[in-house]
């Protein structure tokens, strides 16, 4: 079952050059999909269009069968997004922010409180949720953003550079959560620069260069005896 389908997606920002050109990606249930590329390759553009933050004209993007263009509400109900540098509402406390997200997703009191408690404990921020987000460090904001993304138990989790700013323990917790989601038949799609993490964590990968997907497929099949770093250098230098 495909939880994310990006079909012939192209995007330009007004100029002649396309930020993304004919991008095709499929993420199925149970996948942890790594999306890799240089700075400015088109990763964030693809991700922002996928989650409905960025408008686009060419191509189609489906989340669990719902078009992000035509049925954005249905599509967004099934997914969660965490940007690379989450600008959260600084004037709210962590708890108020999480409740705000829970209200939007219409999560009942018992479930939301249970999930907030569970994840706050996992990320060790239960004592900070009563403080204003403006007082949080980058890593703590990232943790709150991750909890807010998990609060409605999405089928598809989309993350842009999720490990930046996280302490080692929190990074491990995120990886464990990703594995758990996979085992439950959900999927994770994330961009990263950390190739070692992608190699160990992902079962599928796509490499993007100058807006075009240069290689995509199963991690094991693509790598063979090589490391992901070798593969990345090979395809980005020569393709």
């Amino acid at each position: 079952m495909e939880l994310l389908e990006i079909k012939n997606f192209s995007k330009s920002y007004g100029g002649d050059k396309k930020a993304c050109d004919d991008v095709n990606i499929t993420v199925s249930a149970g996948d942890i999909f790594g999306f890799i590329g240089h700075n400015g390759a088109g990763k964030s553009t693809t991700i922002k269009a996928t989650v409905g933050v960025l408008d686009f004209e060419d191509g189609e993007i489906y989340i669990d069968g719902h078009s992000i263009k035509k049925e954005p509400i249905e599509a967004k109900k099934d997914m969660a997004y965490i940007p690379d540098n989450p600008d959260l509402y600084e004037h709210l406390t962590g708890m108020q922010y999480l409740n705000f997200i829970a209200d939007i997703f219409d999560i009942d009191d018992v479930k939301r409180n249970g999930r907030i408690d569970k994840y706050a404990k996992m990320f060790e921020i239960e004592n900070a949720l009563g403080d204003l987000i403006s007082s949080y460090s980058h890593g703590m904001r990232q943790k709150v953003a991750i909890i807010s993304a998990l609060i409605h138990e999405p089928k598809l989790l989309i993350l842009d550079e999720p490990f930046v700013g996280l302490d080692p323990k929190a990074a491990l917790t995120v990886k464990n959560i990703m594995h758990d989601m996979c085992n439950e038949g959900k999927a994770v799609f994330f961009s990263t620069h950390v190739l070692d993490v992608a190699e160990k964590l992902c079962n599928r990968v796509a490499i993007i260069k100058q807006g075009r997907i240069v290689i995509t497929g199963d991690m094991e099949e693509l790598l063979g005896d090589k490391s992901l770093e070798d593969l990345f250098m090979e395809v980005t230098e020569h393709v």
Partner: protein, 533 residues
């Protein structure tokens, strides 16, 4: 150092300049919207020209052209003082790029200077328009020579400088005093409100010292200006330099204004780091502990609640949006304590105005205060870089619009209805009038919320670095505030004079129906336009 400061100033201005964005923006849709915004601002400028020029010409027509320079002094001072007082805090302290700016190889005095000058340049078009329009009206009745033109132009720059420095000092003192309290934001807000109320009362204190008897309005303006000028030296010097060709007063105006600025920049730079550090510091004494869980809300209410927290989080936002509300609350309290006759007497300073004359314009009076600002005119843009949160949530854009409108209604509708009821009862209005005015107040409140939202979604701006740009100077807020203020004043006059032909209650009913239709129209337009953002 001067060169570096100039580069910093130029960059700060360029970063927020509509023309710079227009020059480099490739999206034609965005460009069209920005051009629409420029046209809107041009209309506002035209209104200022007509108002200021008309005032000056009226003085001349009434044989009081000699009073125009004094009026220019008072108007420029008051306008720049209030423009600056409400935004100086946001421009000078705890701004988003503070860390970046302070890490640059610049002296603190240069940084303070560039922050101040940026504010100065933003206010300048308004000062120049008022000044130029008033000299045009003045020139019809008085001789204009090279001296007067030079003094008028340089004097405009100096009056603005003096007023802005004065307002910045008070704002800095309030910010510095606020840092001494545990709840800094609340302390700053209370101090700001207290100072605003003092300023409003000042007018009556000055009047009381110069005017004892009932006199014509135009004479009152002259007496008021004279009264203010007695204490407001720069305006007095400007008047003397223009009217009496006094070189000494002109030199005094220039030297004192520049020296005042230099002193301000020097002193503030000594305490700048300290004030900012305290403002940005997180309270360590605050008891930390596990947050309590919060009850469930609908999506629209969740957004409204978020808006409530946003309003409380910012002194600038709260003061700019709720000053009218505070004034209405004070008015209602004063009605209960002193009675309506005393209040009318103080407000119109002995002019022959009775409560019967006030009754037909009660909804207009209340709305003039409560509707002077609306959160919806800026709350959409206030999302700024956090807009991704709402964009990626499974909600229609209409839900966001509804949530923000709902919050504004929570904020203003009860007060507008209660204000109308309180003033109507105090003026001994008939029962059906009380009901009519309450309904009219509610409708005007809904109109304000939807009209503000329409302005905001027509001219959204998420690329701000300082919230004051959105709260005080955005296209959306200008398009809402100034036309609505003028319309309310005109409406009041029309109702009073129209009352000689038509029953005033019928007029209020007509106003209610018209504003209801406008509210419906703006609501629909807001939903439609928000869908495209």
């Amino acid at each position: 150092m001067f060169k570096k400061s100039a580069v910093l100033l130029k960059t700060m201005i360029r970063a927020n300049s509509t023309f710079n964005i227009l020059k480099h923006e490739k999206d034609k849709k965005k460009k069209r919207k920005m051009i629409g915004g420029i046209i809107g601002i041009t209309c506002i400028y035209l209104m200022i020209i007509i108002y200021a020029g008309g005032y000056s010409a009226l003085c001349g027509y009434s044989g009081m052209a000699y009073a125009v320079p004094a009026s220019v002094g008072v108007i420029l001072f008051a306008m720049n003082f209030f423009f600056t007082f409400f935004k100086a805090d946001g421009y000078l302290f705890a701004f988003k790029d503070y860390d970046m700016t302070m890490s640059l190889p610049l002296s603190v005095k240069s940084i303070v200077g560039t922050r101040f000058l940026r504010m100065y340049i933003l206010n300048l078009p308004y000062s120049l328009l008022v000044s130029a329009s008033m000299i045009a009206g003045y020139a019809i009745y008085m001789t204009i020579d090279a001296w007067r033109i030079i003094v008028w132009i340089i004097g405009t720059f100096m009056l603005q400088l003096f007023a802005m420095v004065f307002a910045s000092i008070l704002s800095a003192l309030i910010s510095a005093a606020g840092t001494k309290f545990r709840f800094k934001q609340a302390a700053k807000t209370i101090l700001t409100f207290a100072f605003c109320i003092f300023c409003f009362s000042l007018r009556y204190i000055i009047d009381a010292t110069v005017a004892k008897d009932s006199v014509a309005v135009i004479d009152k303006i002259d007496m008021f200006n004279s009264g203010v000028n007695r204490y407001l030296f720069p305006a007095q010097w400007f008047d003397g330099a223009v009217s009496d060709y006094s070189v000494l007063q002109f030199i005094l105006l220039v030297v004192v204004s520049i020296a005042f600025y230099e002193l301000f920049a020097y002193v503030l730079s000594k305490f700048y780091r300290q004030i900012n550090s305290r403002l940005m510091a997180v309270s360590t004494s605050k008891k930390k502990g596990k947050a309590k869980h919060i009850g469930r809300k609908s999506a629209v209410n969740a957004i409204a609640y978020k808006e409530f927290r946003r309003l409380l989080s910012s002194n600038n936002y709260l003061v700019n949006m709720c000053l009218g509300h505070v004034l209405v609350i004070l008015m209602v309290a004063a009605l209960i304590i002193f009675g309506v006759d005393k209040i009318i007497n103080v407000a119109v300073e002995g002019a022959p105005v009775t409560k019967e004359m006030i009754i037909p314009i009660i909804p207009v009076i209340i709305h003039f205060f409560v509707g002077m600002a609306t959160t919806t005119a800026c709350s959409y843009s206030m999302e700024g870089k956090s807009y991704w949160i709402l964009q990626s949530l499974p909600i229609e854009k209409s839900t966001i619009v509804k949530g923000k409108i709902l919050f504004q209604l929570y904020l203003s509708l009860p007060l507008e209805v209660l204000g109308n009821i309180a003033l109507s009862i105090a003026c001994h209005a008939k029962i059906y009038e009380i009901i009519l005015f309450a309904v009219c107040g509610a409708v005007l409140s809904i109109y304000s919320a939807t009209c503000g939202m329409n302005c905001n979604v027509s001219h959204p701006n998420f690329e701000w670095t300082n919230e004051i740009e959105i709260i005080k100077q955005s296209t959306a807020i200008t398009l809402y505030v100034l036309p609505n203020m003028f319309i309310m004043m005109i409406l009041g006059v029309l109702i009073i004079f129209g009352g000689r032909i038509v029953n005033p209650d019928i007029e209020i009913l007509a106003v209610t129906i018209i504003y209801m239709a406008l509210a419906a129209l703006f609501y629909k337009r807001s939903i439609k336009k928000a869908a495209k953002i």
